[in-house]
Amino acid sequence: MNRRENLKLLFTGSLASGLLLTHCTPADKAEDFSPKIAGGTPGGRTAEEIAYDQRLLSEVFFTDEERKKLDFLVDIIMPAGEDSGSATEAGVPEFIEFMMKDQPSFQTPIRGGLMWLDNYSDDTYGKKFLDLSEKEKMEVIDLIAWPDKAPKELTGPVRFFNALRNLTCTGYFTSEIGFKYIGYKGNTPNVWDGVPDEVMKKHGFEYPEKYMALYLKPEERGKVAEWDNEGNLVG
């Protein structure tokens, strides 16, 4: 391992360890190993993790042609609605581009599936997929989008579409647009005081009487706990 790599190890997101600072010359300290391309995961990364994210972010997997097909397909799978944006607006193609490199086992099925669309379109309509009419495009998609109805010989393309559906849906619902659409309410500082009363009523539940006196009382949340010798909370 050379000195440059040593320093990379040192600059692991947190400078707190400072382990080797005693061994560094001022010139060494001036070297900068921080991420150059935005978009890597923040928070307690190792130098290896930062370098890995940087490499993936600097590489391009999909060709322009593939990317056009991808953009079209993800918006078919997760289109814009009255109250929500589309997959492309949610950044799904960028996410899928990244996942191709992060989990390379996706590469062949997805690339091959995108090629199959052209092959099939050419055989059937004499045109590439993106050159088909909207009606023809949907005919092709409908062949492979319904696993329980699809012809047996199309199992491969169906699996491609399943994988693409997985990535598109998960990309969509892990975006800001997706959070809003699904109605996610969590991850804000709060005090848990049980299921709202009206929901409890609707589902026919009541909290067990036996524990009501024990459950956390929000108003006591600031009080430092004290116990008697038997382990009963007294303060």
Binding site: M99, W146, F173
Partner: protein, 580 residues
């Protein structure tokens, strides 16, 4: 904080290897006794309160993989256990068709940064299993010896729960428990019909403060990301860093310990370690060496510490180091709750873990396997992350369309989008975590054919589940089906059968591996005495889960810390008496 590298000759009272639950506790107790302490950690420093280390409260779109797991973070991109089952440059091997996966976390605090915080005391029976069922061995100590330490751990660290008066699930000093979530209420309904008890869970998050140094839980459901308010138990902020602030504690990060060094009389003189930053070897000297590197890593260090006085490795004159390795059993099942389809939205986070659980409730006399398991429950409206919206090619059929017919699997478009929204928060899952029988034939040893990138010989694992564990997993599956069905769930997938050992997890996967340096009265069949002191090296101690004679159906961390505290009291006492 001091990080200056000490060269050969620098001496401490105590060297502690590892900064997780055991090492962290040892650093606190020993430094508070006025001893000078060096803590060696193989990974980087980490402090969840520092903005640059924070992943808590980050939405998935701050990760380019939307929170998907990586080789380094198999539990997700925001999870704070850096390492995983497959660490670059740090291999291990398996004998024959052995399946064993070894999880390691290379960072200050180790695995305590992400663990489930399930903080259960072992009960009186858990120390005396051989006396009860004739299998395995009894511990050389009992619950009464550890009880005062469990009490102290409860008060020092904080755990919520409820006093239940169950003999083998001893009560402690509990903070207020939390009201169950909606899916947990359904689980309770199912469990009641199936005659299975459920009680408030016992987790080490601060529902109320225990002092003025740590914050109180603000309910973000992300304890696996480590808490910036220090409201859950992680060894770094709760044990090690306070010890460094108050006492004579030096922390060495990126320090990969290779051996315990010994003198001609066989006493430990310190450790030899590789500094991962400059890849050079350093030696540190101390009067006492305390290993808390994790059960398998501590065993590896001991077996690699060969000398004239310890030809089989230090502590290993019995040949027992590495033997009796065992992990908890584990199996899971999940269902979808039609009653929860299209449910009302509200902030359901709570703590990062279940609010209710099932302790072991049956008598093995009436069963075809030994030892029990507890049940964990999961589900609800957690933060969407990588995986949300997957599997609509098989799951959409669980929804009904407007005419009451099953929705078609797969598809696309507005209908699919709505169905994923309707399915959100409808899963109810169960996980059994149980006790296995320790076996002499399940072990790790040094593989002389391979070294890691630091030149240190690696571990080879030998492990086979027995019929006891397989039958226990079968019982888990039957229980899961009964409870889920009674709760009103549609069971997902098919019931795991004999061909998959009833879904029994690969050993190592539950990450409760223990027993490799077990304690005992007989120096021929154990590595440590009842004070976790090596039988053949009086100033060498182990404070991780290696000393466990048996791993109960309870998570090991609370017992690691109670035992480490007790061991450290003994060390201080022996040093005072000049016995070591």
């Amino acid at each position: 904080m001091s990080f200056e590298i000490k060269s050969t000759g620098e001496a401490y009272d105590v060297i502690i290897v590892g900064s997780g639950a055991g090492g962290g506790m040892a650093s606190k107790i020993l430094s508070e006794a006025g001893l000078s302490v060096a803590v060696l950690e193989a990974g980087r420093d980490f402090d969840p309160a520092k903005e640059e280390d924070r992943t808590q409260l980050r939405p998935p779109w701050e990760s380019p993989r939307r929170g998907a797991g990586t080789r380094v973070r198999p539990f997700g991109d925001f999870d704070q256990a850096i390492g995983g089952w497959d660490i670059e440059g740090e291999p291990y091997t398996r004998e024959g068709d052995t399946k064993f996966d070894w999880f390691r976390s290379r960072m200050v605090g180790g695995r305590t940064n992400h663990w489930g915080r399930i903080s259960l005391r072992f009960g009186p029976n858990d120390f005396k299993r051989k006396s009860i069922d004739g299998l395995g061995d009894d511990w050389p100590i009992g619950y009464d010896e550890l009880k005062p330490y469990y009490d102290k751990v409860d008060k020092l660290i904080g755990v919520f729960g409820s006093k239940e008066g169950i003999y083998n699930e001893p009560d402690g000093f509990f903070l207020p428990p939390l009201k169950p979530r909606l899916h947990e209420l359904y689980a309770m309904k199912g469990a009641k019909k199936a005659n299975v008890p459920m009680i408030p869970s016992r987790l080490s998050m601060l529902t109320r403060p225990i002092n003025n140094d740590r914050g109180v839980c603000f309910f973000c459901n992300q304890c696996n990301r480590a808490c910036q308010a220090y409201a859950d138990f992680s060894s770094g902020p709760v044990l090690l860093k306070p010890a460094m602030a108050k006492g004579k504690v030096d922390l060495y990060t990126f320090a990969m310990v290779r051996t315990v060094t010994t003198d001609e009389s066989g006493k430990a003189t310190g450790v030899s370690y590789i500094n991962k930053v400059d890849m050079k070897e350093y030696k540190l000297r101390a009067r006492v060496v305390v290993l808390g590197a994790s059960a398998c890593e501590s065993a590896r260090i001991m077996m690699n510490s060969k000398s004239k006085s310890h030809p089989n490795g230090v502590g290993n004159s019995s040949g027992m180091v590495g033997r009796y390795l065992h992990d908890s059993t584990g199996a899971d099942r999940m269902g979808i709750m039609p009653d929860l389809v299209n449910r009302e939205r509200y902030n359901e986070d709570g703590v990062g873990g279940m609010h209710v659980y099932t302790p072991w409730w049956l008598d093995n006399k009436n069963l075809d396997f030994a030892r029990g398991y507890h049940i964990e429950y999961w589900g609800g409206m957690a933060m969407p992350s990588y995986g949300t919206g997957f599997a609509m090619d098989t799951m959409r059929k669980y929804l009904k369309d407007e005419f009451g017919n099953p929705a078609p699997n797969g598809g696309y478009g507005e209908g699919l989008k709505k169905d994923i929204k309707r399915l959100y928060g409808t899963t109810l899952g169960m996980s059994g975590r149980g006790e296995s029988i320790p076996q002499y034939s399940n072990y790790c040893e040094i593989d002389n054919n391979m070294v890691d990138k630091f030149g240190i010989p690696v571990l080879k694992f030998h492990y086979k589940w027995t019929d006891q564990e397989i039958k226990q997993a079968k019982h888990m599956q039957d229980t899961f089906e009964e409870i889920l069905t009674e709760a009103g769930a549609i069971l997902m997938g098919s019931k795991p059968g004999a061909d998959t050992l009833y879904g029994l997890a690969t050993p190592g996967r539950i990450i409760h591996e223990v027993g490799t340096t077990r304690m005992g009265k007989n120096p021929n069949t154990s590595v440590l005495n009842s004070n976790c002191q090596a039988h053949d090296c009086e100033n060498l101690f182990v404070v991780d889960a290696g000393p466990f004679v048996s791993q109960a159906d309870k998570n090991p961390t609370w017992t690691i810390m109670a035992l480490a505290w007790r061991t450290c009291d003994y060390i201080v006492d022996e040093l005072k008496k000049k016995n070591i």
